[in-house]
Amino acid sequence: MNFPLIPEQASTFAPSVDLLFYALTAFVLLFTVGVTAVLIALGIKYKAEPGRKSEHVENMALELLWSAIPAVIALVIFAWGAIIYFDYRNIPENTLDINVIGKQWMWKIQHPNGKREVNELHVPVGKAVKITMTSQDVLHDFYIPAFRVKQDAIPAKYTDMWFEATKVGTYPLFCAEYCGTDHSTMGGTVTVMEQDAYQEWLEGGPPVTPAQAGETLFQQMGCVTCHDAGAASRGPVLNGVFGHEVKLRDGKTVVADEEYIRESIMSPSAKIVDGYAPLMPTFPNLDEEDILNLLAYIKSLSDEQQ
């Protein structure tokens, strides 16, 4: 029977997270054992004796000292945790971008070249991987203990996380946010492969990339009839929009990121671009995969511009 007591370290985060964990463990155990020992020792030393009076002591210096020391320790722990957190949020450039969609009760995963898998994730070792995720229905949470990473997948929203695997192998993948009946079986494995092996594995993918699928959808849904460069254009042209500021009708500006573009597809009237009327219909039949494909296409339009 497997009985590990220490979790495997398989990402660049693991060593620094673990250091804080074990340091805090030592500190809390020391503190607890210390306090309990002092309590018992005092309880024995000052066990009630007839005839001995209790002596009440007050000591302001001591009070201030044991208020200040925990405050300092707490701030150190905060800072330590914050430094690690900066690493979690500081997503490097040139990541391998993988999309994940949570759905009761499976993880649908798509690699940059369009290759899909379900409840399994293949990633190369030694390469920064960025996961962008959303959910088709309820809240889920993409959790890989060996990498020490976790992120909620939230419907109608994009969240992201990154990691760099350091060790070839197979590790469990879980859903950590309770999501209904089969929550506990929503998961599978993460396989870390050598970079060559990963490339080889990817080759087996379908011929269509997400951006290509998005372009097809863009034509089929008739988006192109309004969002074109013609003179009578009823909607803004999308070339070069992604990642740039957009001026809205009410004078505010927003950056056209994933969230904004998703919102503009799903609730078109929420933020209207300056100079246009709120004419765009909604598309309730699009699922999260379609939207991700459209997003990939719109992103590719901005790449072309540059």
């Binding site: 914050a82 020490r148 009946t181």
Partner: protein
């Protein structure tokens, strides 16, 4: 009057006989209980009701702990398992932990400790119990009708658009029960402000009162937000509109903000009164004035205030902005300071005292040890970078239970054992009770310590079946739970036994200080005090000459 001066240097003579007329026997009809406006009887009614709910919540836990012996999830269906952990949470939190110390011991003791004849609004107090019971009855109805499977946190959109169980009814239950809690808090706050006996200034109050004061503030300001949040979720469920469901334009994360705005302070509703009980017991059985009285008093208030500013630490991985997370993390760390102050001051109270290892004292020392671990592991989860891997794992489950069971339930048991002679006039067998306290301590650690390890290894919470790597730890946990269960059952027997066969306790069996011990009989008079007592000195005026009456 002989009774006028208490808390003086003279210890008043103890009364060893049971008063002929007391609050328990002066009227014997059923309606004299069910319509009683006497805070003591209402406290007893709460004691009986929440004990029943504790058994119900405990049964759910028992069954799913057996289920968790094997990784496969073979005893219960997944849906049944989900219902059981949800109902365990809902029953334990809303019907046991939140009312426990305030509604039972707070009701019973606050007027006695401050020298009042009753709480400020006795009718409202009775109404609170009825509201609680309406909520409780509907809660039982949910169980009988087929349960609830959203988790006690009711996260949207699972609860509003996807669950097929009695979410709407549950929303009503939480809403209704919340008002019981609000009205109790309101009653206590007014009572503490306006009903204190002459001479009982703020800094002469027992720390139990300070703790309840802080608790009441949270109950009044926090609970209405939960009520309206759960009301909105109920409306969403009923009408099919999208307040929190993104498919209909709503924002599920807003629900989390509003939910935790109450539910984080709510954990301080659960633990602060426990800390109040511990202060009383540590003072009494150290035969010493509590060290750093003002620091303990103000630390309760500080916890209540900071408690309202840290809700976002439940949402580090829910896509919250990075800087929000950092601010919430920083504020969360501040809670450690008042908590540590309490621990140090309790410990120092023993110094140069006359320590008596009575049953309540053993529970109290157990409480401090377990609370140190519970609070300390809060540091792990408050540090935002470390919370990322630990969030929503068994580490959180263990942390929460160390604070709520290791802290709160230990304190509740400590309080029940301390005040049982006052409430009933009877003594329970001491040796058995001490063994039981140790049993609870050991069983508790065996149950929940392995869960820290399981969480650190990566076992997510609310899992019906799990990875085989976690099995050994889960088996250990279930074995521990059996010991813990035994530790909870035995006291029921000897306490009930004591009602019939126990020794008469007398007015002050512990040799404790305070109006409830020195002026009131055991059980107290229906009107608490024949004459309004006058207080002339500080609380905990122990000298070391007090003795146990045995």
């Amino acid at each position: 009057m002989a009774n006028d001066v208490v808390h003086g240097t003279e210890i008043p003579p103890r009364d060893h006989t049971r008063p002929e007329v007391n609050y328990l026997n002066w009227r014997q009809t059923v309606s004299s209980w069910l319509l009683s406006q006497d805070h003591k009887r209402i406290g007893i009614m709460y004691l009986i009701s929440i004990s029943i709910f504790f058994v119900v919540g405990g049964l759910f836990a028992t069954i799913f702990r057996i289920e968790l012996l094997t990784p496969e999830g073979d005893l219960l269906q997944a849906d049944t398992y989900n219902k059981f952990f949800t109902l365990h949470g809902v029953v334990m939190i809303f019907f046991f932990l939140i009312p426990s110390i305030p509604a039972v011991l707070g009701n019973f003791l606050i007027p006695l400790q401050i020298g009042a004849k009753d709480v400020a609004f006795p009718k409202l107090n009775l109404a609170s119990w009825y509201i609680f019971m309406v909520g409780g009855t509907l809660g039982v109805a949910i169980i009988l009708l087929g349960g609830l499977d959203t988790g006690w946190t009711f996260y949207t959109p699972l609860s509003t658009s996807y669950a097929n169980t009695h979410v709407f009814l549950a929303a009503i239950v939480v809403f209704v029960t919340g008002f019981s809690s609000i009205l109790t808090g309101l009653n206590f706050l007014v009572t503490i402000h306006k009903m204190r006996a002459p001479g009982l200034t703020w800094f002469r109050l027992p720390l139990f009162i300070w703790a309840h004061y802080a608790t009441s503030v949270i109950q009044i300001l926090g609970t209405p937000v939960l009520a309206i949040t759960i009301f909105l979720a109920g409306v969403e469920r009923l009408w099919g509109v999208g307040i929190f469901d993104p498919a209909l334009g709503g924002d599920p994360v807003l629900f989390q903000h509003m939910f935790w705005f109450y539910s984080h302070p709510a954990v301080y509703i659960m633990i602060l009164p426990g800390m109040g009980v511990i202060s009383e017991i540590i003072g009494c059985f150290s035969r010493n004035r509590v060290f750093g009285y003002e620091f303990i008093a103000f630390s309760s208030v500080a916890i209540a205030i900071i408690g309202f500013l840290v809700w976002g630490h439940h949402m580090y991985v829910s896509g919250q902005a990075m800087y929000s997370n950092l601010v919430f993390s920083l504020l969360t760390m501040l809670v450690a300071v008042p908590s540590a102050i309490k621990i140090f001051n309790w410990t120092a109270t023993l110094y140069k005292g006359n320590v008596v290892w009575a049953t309540p004292m053993i529970y109290a020392i157990g409480f401090i040890g377990l609370f140190a671990i519970g609070g300390g592991t809060g540091l792990f989860l408050g540090a935002v970078g470390l919370d990322v891997p630990l969030h929503d794992t068994y580490f959180v489950v263990a942390h929460f239970h160390y604070v709520m069971v290791g802290g709160m339930v230990m304190a509740y048991l400590a309080g029940i054992h301390f005040y049982w002679p006052k409430m009933t006039g009877k003594m329970y067998p001491q040796t058995l009770a001490k063994l039981c306290a140790i049993l609870v301590f050991v069983g508790f650690n065996c149950t929940f310590f392995p869960q820290f390890l399981a969480g650190w290894l990566g076992m997510p919470r609310r899992y019906h079946s799990y990875h085989e790597d976690f099995q050994v730890l889960n088996v250990m946990s279930t074995i521990g739970a059996s010991i813990l269960g035994l530790g909870f059952i035995i006291p029921v027997f000897y306490l009930v036994w004591s009602l019939f066969y126990g020794k008469e306790a007398g007015s002050n069996p512990w040799g404790a200080r305070g109006l409830e011990w020195e002026v009131c009989t055991s059980p107290p008079d229906p009107h608490n005090f024949h004459e309004t007592p006058v207080v002339t000195s500080e609380a905990y005026a122990y000298t070391g000459e007090e003795t146990l009456s045995e």
